[in-house]
Amino acid sequence: MAQPYKPSKLPRHELPCLDPKERIKTFDEVALGFSEDEAVAEAQRCLSCKNSPCAKGCPVEIDISAFLEKVAERQFKEALEIIKEKNNLPGITGRVCPQESQCECECTLGKAKGGQPLAIGAVERFVADWCAKNGATPAVKMEPPNGIKAGVIGSGPASLTAAGDLARAGFDVTVFEAFHDAGGVLLFGIPEFRMPKSILKAEVEYLESLGVKFAFDQVVGKSVFVEDLFGPEHGFKTLFMGTGAGLPMFLKIPGENLLDVYSANEFLTRVNLMKAYKFPEYDTPVKVGSTVLVVGGGNVALDAARTALRLGAKQVSIVYRRTLKEMPARQAEVEHAQEEGVVFKLLRAPVEIIGDARKNVTAMRFQEMTLGCLDESGRASCVPIEGAFETIPCSTVIIAIGSETNTICSDATCELEVDKKKHIKVNTETQETSIDGLFAGGDAVTGSATVISAMGAAKKAARSMAAFALKK
């Protein structure tokens, strides 16, 4: 039954969270999920808008009002079926999508004065978690095996999505991953307290149950080449390249190679993948001083800052060139970080990292900035305030200013066309690259983006790959 249109009378349900004082002592998930009743009540707020503005905000256009309707009727398995038509990993996107700038941003409920958008992500997450917990796996349509080999390079969200769709389409799928485990950024980047690894593990096991094979420790472009994979020995008819945007960028300022300066990638990989937070039970160490400065303003910076707190840092600050408003990080994460005690030092641009004779970091120097007019990207530009500098004492610096494309695979595949930024060039309708049979998607094509956009591109690629391989 549709609800009367009184958005302000129906407050949005917010996800309950662990107490900030307690949660910074552990890596347990911060945001607890909705209860069944909360999820249903939240879904019942939906107005079933005719033109589905929310779906247009979702990069893969999930039929949001349809799945919310099922939730409102407590038909959770059916709700999952609807989501899964477009999104293979709702347990993950429900947690990590920047909903406030995607689906929820377009929600009619939020447009009314004083109205709050529907908590679409939280409900999506609930559906995934409920079905996983209750063993309610929606029936998947599996095509009979067609005996054709399809290969997937990388195992991030794009690759996992392509692998799943190809397996369901009847292909014999192998995933080639450089690391010793699957998941890409979901594994080594996004921390446990934001997205428990158990969800990823369940998804990988599910793919295995569909017949997907995982070949780890395989750096394509070093251990094996694309041409080998297409060649007679391996015999892949089509390949998907989802190698991500893995190369950390540095600031190119003095002092950057001092001992206590980490890239966020290294810091998070040591902790998440190598489990340095359990050192010495695990062999890989990580070092966090008492005062930590994290440079950057995206999700990566926030993840690094909150991880540093959990590793025992006394004071952690995020230093960002612009203001909170321009920060690309998810809003919910900024709020969580603030609750946990992360300090935001804004309008400061790094100039130099200062060290002592033993090359340990002692401080960092910043240029103070002010906001200027809008730049091409529509964001306020930042302008240095002449002569205004600040030196902030610190013992560890983590640099989280973005990443570039990992080119090991594309460099070794000479006929592959890439653009100036080394992003793989594709036909955006089909995701096909300049090489016949090779398709690509995710951060390797777009540069650092989001989990859901990587998955959306992969779904498109999987369809084109199936068409390509079956045609020939």
Binding site: A178, F179, H180, F216, D217, Q218, V219, K222, S223, V224, G246, L247, P248, F250, K252, E256, N257, L259, Y262, S263, N265, E266, T269, R270, M274, K275, F279, P280, E281, Y282, D283, T284, P285, K287, R358, K359, N406, I408
Partner: protein
Amino acid sequence: MVNIIRKKQLNEVIYEIEVEAPQIARKGRAGQFVIVRIHDRGERVPLTIADLDPASGAVTIVYQVVGKTTLELSRLNPGDIVKDIVGPLGKPMELDKFGTVVLLGGGCGVAPVYPQAKALKEAGNKVISIIGFRNKDLVFWQEKMARVSDEVIVVTDDGSNGNKGFTTTALQELIAKGVKIDRVISIGPLIMMANTVKVTRPAGIRTIVSLNTLMVDGTGMCGSCRVSTSQGTKFACVDGPDMDGFDLDFDEIMARNRKYEPEERIALEKYKHECQCEKAMKTVEKCA
């Protein structure tokens, strides 16, 4: 997972193992390395491909016991399994007909020098190898080096083999004698590589060193292995490990390699302690 097929102790701290890794054996080139992770809780450690046999699929690794992982590795035997091995990583060495090339191998560094000497010889260069050890009991692979070199000079720190000196002093002597050297390759402890450059820079001989920085992924993803050069920061794992010795800040590299010393000590002590417990447990079991 890879099998260890052969193991040999070369001296009191250095071991040679052969693992079954056909793919790496086929693709590997001189100058490249692998990353090994012994078990699920293990660290990822980089080790140079010291030799390989594409026909049998065997890859030879020579390592020195310096900490927990290498100690643990030294306790594995043929038939045992190593959880992960990934490679070949890094750039292959620069190979050409340079003329006369002098290779310096210090201690464990003799092993990574071997494939480079072999490749250079095959490419038609005159190869002079200088290998150095602390004393004569530690000498290994002298024969093997002789097979791929026109001349091998063995030096020891204490002179116990009758030829006292460092690899760099032997190099200095060659230069002083007027031997025309077109390129020097130096692989060993950082201090030896730094000292090599001190000898070759005044002589203007292009010098390549092989960096052994700390690494995590080995594919350019983390920046742990980064070093400062005149062209900005470079990553040893993807831009190297071979690098132009004249363009490096060895003080910085040495300092960065010591970053985790206290933690490494903790890991090693904990492991030694556990091993003893294990031994005690085994004795207890046997008695029961």
